[in-house]
Amino acid sequence: MFWHPLLLAIISAQIVALLLLLAGSLTSLNTALHWQPLSADSRQLSLEARAEGVSIQGRAAFWLSVFSAVLLVFGITNIFAEDIPGAMCGTGVCQAMSPRGSTQLLLYTGLLLLLMQLWHEMDKLNRMLVEMPLTDITARLFLVIPAVAVLTLKQTYASFAGIRPHQPVDCCAVVYDQFTTLKHAKSILGLGDAFWISAFIVLSLALFSLSVALRTSMVDRPGIRGLHAIISCLWLPVASLTLVNIFSAYHYEVLHHHCPWCLFLPEHRLVGYPLYGALYVIGMEGFTLFMLPRLANQDITVYKKALDRCRRAANRITFAQLLFLIIAILPAIVWRLHYGVWMSG
């Protein structure tokens, strides 16, 4: 078992969040089953009162989950590596956890945040209006979350329990063993750097244009929202792959060091935080932008508020994308200006 005070803080935050979610689940179940907004009978009024309590509990659980996720990333990237012989960054920590355990942990944490973010946005929208017209939908969504929270907590424990602190790891080997030949190192999924750079540029331009269009458009454009969702889904993996496989070389000043976690180290000016933070914002806001109007289309007032929120989401996506592009590409441009060639020739 791996012991660290920060891990205690992560697990305790997750447990408190889960307890809050479980406490709210019963009311959410009742709300999902018996919600009748047109009635003013005692059961409905009692449900309305209790639904407000669930909203507060859910918000507390949301912020606790965000806090624990931030601590988890901070721990994996900057703290836990020092307790594991041979680990220099998050790759070593993930290697110590077993690749499957670490992937599942990150997936569950991401999924939990995604669902909670959507619930949080729906709840905010719901509370803006005096009648709380989205209460039954938010209650149904809320019922899904505790299951994912349980899985996340279980996986957090399982992943860290699997670490043998005295067993050395070799994180550089993990990074360099990904490819057997130089040709292999120069390609991603069998396709060359040129293809991925072109795809990144095209998708970035498309995402940027669509975000600006959604930001400035005064009318509802469901088609553009759908297209935006598709482009976001394509842009995120392409951006991650090009960042790790191509642009990171200019941050590390070493070719073919395809490590995502080293970007979070102080030696590389902690650029991983703004870079992956921007990816997180784009993912979350893109999901909100796509889902929110679909879930809030019952009532015209709430739909209008949802569209306002979508415009703000498009705005945030634009800024996050610009931040990502500046931080990811600037060192490459500086390198090119300084040395007159690209690193890969």
């Binding site: 012991w3 660290h4 005070p5 205690l8 507060i56 307790d83 012989p85 050395p168």
Partner: protein
């Protein structure tokens, strides 16, 4: 600078000043204690991490089924230097012997020159029968002699002490002439305890191990600098985690006290009911209590952190190290590393401040979301 709600929050504290003062004092000392317990090992660890960077890249030892074996110096140096990437190989003669008051680490000094920084106190290397000792080794004999017992029993003349600032590594060290050291430890002539190897590139430490192992005709075991650092870090952080776990009941008890206190003090809950009836929103009430708690917690956190910094990095460090590690003669020189200090602040925030703030806010939140009539009814019954 302060808005009306903030001023009102402080006025609210003045309604029951002694309870707030008591909470502030308790919190200050609790944060100082918890912070010190977490920060001190962290500071020791950070200090070690920094100085360990100066240690040899690899330590190579000969092993057989019973454990370590002495290495023949000439053959092993030859074998190690034949590996590409090895920059320097230094055989070390060291071991543990009995001193007058307990075990000591004896080391044979072999190098020709000493760096300037050490040369000042050490005008010469120990000749036969002489010793240079670390700061923690007291010589009982007024003539400055040190009796040691290993393979032989011998008394040495103490000619110098190692600089006090280096105590972190040299506290219990006795430097002897290599021949004296070999005799005392029981190493045969021409044999060393192990090899200290430096490699060209830091990242090659791990990669070079297989080459090194293959270069020797007998089984060897290598420990890299990174592994050593990991061993210490693991120990310290496990210790800190255990410390944090043992603190949990204390923190919980404190949270309970704070919650009960908060409930009692503002939570004559009718006050909240009256405020809501007078047009205060739930947000206003939460903000009021957040300010109230901040005005008590913020100076407490600052003072508590200041106290724990004073104890760990400041003039209080001597006493603390004496208390924890019995470093009576060793004023430890602990270094502040930003990452370590930030981690401890986060841990203290996670373990102490957040639960205390939560326990103070939860009754307020509960009351703020409750039915106003029920809160005021409570006042009626009072």
């Amino acid at each position: 600078m302060f808005n009306t709600l903030q001023i009102w929050a402080f006025r609210d504290i003045l309604r029951r000043p002694f309870e707030s003062l008591l909470l502030a004092v308790t919190l200050t000392f609790a944060i100082a204690t918890v912070g010190t317990l977490l920060l001190f090992p962290r500071a020791v660890y950070d200090t070690l991490t920094v100085v360990l960077k100066a240690t040899p890249s690899i330590i190579l030892r000969q092993v057989d089924p019973t454990g370590w074996r002495p290495l023949p110096i000439r053959e092993s140096v030859q074998a190690a230097t034949s590996v590409i990437g090895v920059v320097s190989v230094r055989p070390r003669i060291w071991g543990m012997v009995n001193g007058p008051d307990g075990p000591l680490t004896v080391m044979g000094v072999q190098q020709e020159g000493l760096p300037e920084i050490l040369a000042d106190p050490l005008t010469r290397l120990p000749a036969k029968g002489q010793a240079i000792v670390g700061w923690g080794i007291a010589s009982h004999d007024p003539a400055g002699t040190l009796p040691l017992e290993g393979a032989i029993r011998q008394t040495y003349q103490v000619i110098h002490r190692l600089p006090e600032q280096t105590s972190m590594f040299t506290h219990d060290l006795v430097l002897l002439n290599p021949l004296d050291a070999q005799q005392l430890i029981g190493l045969p002539q021409g044999y060393a305890s192990d090899l200290a190897i430096d490699v060209f590139h830091e990242d090659e430490q791990d990669a070079i191990l297989s080459d090194l192992t293959a270069a020797f005709p007998w089984p060897v075991r290598c420990v890299t600098r990174r592994q050593s650092a990991g061993i210490y870090a693991g120990g310290f952080n496990r210790g800190r985690a255990l410390g944090a776990i043992t603190m949990i009941p204390a923190v919980l008890a404190m949270c309970l006290l704070v919650a009960v206190n908060t409930r009692k003090s503002m939570g004559r809950q009718s006050d909240l009911g009256i405020m809501k009836a007078m047009g205060w929103t739930t947000g206003d009430i939460i903000r009021l209590h957040l300010y109230r708690d901040l005005f008590v917690c913020l100076p407490s956190v600052a003072l508590g952190s200041c106290l724990c910094f004073f104890l760990v990095y400041g003039p209080g460090a001597d006493g603390l190290a004496g208390f924890f590690l019995g470093w009576d003669t060793l004023p430890p020189r602990l270094y502040l590393e930003t990452k370590g200090a930030v981690t401890v602040l986060l841990e203290v925030a996670g373990v102490m401040v957040a639960p205390v703030m939560a326990s103070a806010l939860l009754p307020a939140l509960k009351a703020a979301t409750a039915d106003v009539h029920e809160l005021i009814e409570g006042a009626g019954r009072r």
